[in-house]
Symmetry: C2
Subunit: 219 residues, 2 copies
């Protein structure tokens, strides 16, 4: 399986047995979510901001208003990172110490690149909308020139990535298995509920295909 090369920045030290650098694993975690957290530094204070992203091959796209502080801050960095986290379960052990969560997370590293070309910008915006709801791009009014102009798009061409995954039951200290205490996992799931049409819709319209697909296949 194709893997990312790791450096000190991306190599997972704690819980190394949960780490993976396989491209397929990294891409799967990225494709199963669309909200990431982006760290930046504002006057020596690290800040993490949630935003929407999309992946195309080995590039992640994020976007925001021109003048967005986070985007402007990371645009000129030689390297930054983006984190995606899925919470999959509470791991309730016999001991407090071994309480944990089941999760899939990935940190991808790369050099940010401001997307200048109107074509790539438009493609990135399509990817982002499609990543939220597949098929949606064909159902909507696509961006006009002005909207593309006032939108900043940043690409992160992935150079390194590290995934971390915990699954399965609690792992307690050997002697604790003799304690008469319950242990187990409470699975956590993110579901899409029935769509709520905009109360300001002027037309009687069926729920579009992209939306139907979302609520049929929970993410």
């Amino acid at each position: 399986m194709e893997k990312y090369v790791t450096t000190e920045a991306s190599k997972i030290k704690r819980g190394a047995k949960r780490a993976s650098y396989d491209k397929a694993t990294v891409f799967q975690i990225l494709d199963d979510h669309f909200i990431c957290h982006i760290p930046y530094v504002y006057e020596d204070t690290p800040i993490s901001i949630p935003t929407i992203y999309a992946r195309f091959q080995e590039t992640l796209y994020i976007h925001g208003a021109m003048g967005n502080r986070m985007l402007n801050s990371i645009a000129s960095l030689p390297q930054t990172s983006i984190t995606v986290t899925h919470l999959d379960g509470l791991v309730l052990a016999r001991s407090a110490f071994h309480h944990s969560v089941n999760y899939r997370s990935v940190v991808v590293f790369g050099k940010p690149r401001v997307v200048i070309s109107e074509k790539e910008k438009n493609k990135a915006l399509e990817l982002i909308v499609e990543h939220m709801a597949k098929g949606r791009w064909e159902e909507i009014r696509v961006p006009n020139e002005k909207e593309i102009k006032i939108t900043q798009v940043l690409a992160l061409d992935i150079t390194e990535a590290s995934a971390k995954i915990r699954q399965g039951p609690p792992v307690d200290d050997q002697e604790d298995y003799d304690l008469e205490l319950w242990a187990g996992v409470v699975p956590v799931k993110t579901i899409y509920e029935k769509a709520v049409p905009d109360p300001d819709l002027k037309f009687a319209l069926d729920t579009p295909t992209s939306v139907k697909k979302l609520t049929e296949n929970d993410k």
Copy 2:
């Protein structure tokens, strides 16, 4: 309502009408989740790491192994921040440009403090377990001296915080309401599924109260 004072670091510029600095709002967002993202800088590269947290009054607690790179990196900073994000819905507008998400997020700022006292450490670990599953602390083996010793606990006494909330239907450009295009919101919910007992349980035990409560009241 009591509010946090804002500085340039915490003041929300983009989407200022979605911002809130009310303590009650900030606390509610913090209390409704238990996974946060913590930004730090490793050799000039910003990295964001997901971890469990708990709140006690105006203090957040996080923990990890002694030697945890993220904890060690932020421990000595004069100020850092912690972000908590809830995804509440997909906002599917008529135009690509106004696609968005409904969410509640908060960035809290403060000076990190390494918790030295064994008593406060133990209390923080209790708060963290209780934040995952209320009532769990009484059902488990609490940390022993060795476990407390090898665990690092960091407190963040909150000095500033900014919440950002988007709710409700899409908001399109006025002229787009005349387009015969569907728009609406797909609500996103995080649910707890039925607990899966550890297959290595040696005793026939009822599901404990804390776990029952979780699956009854979805978060």
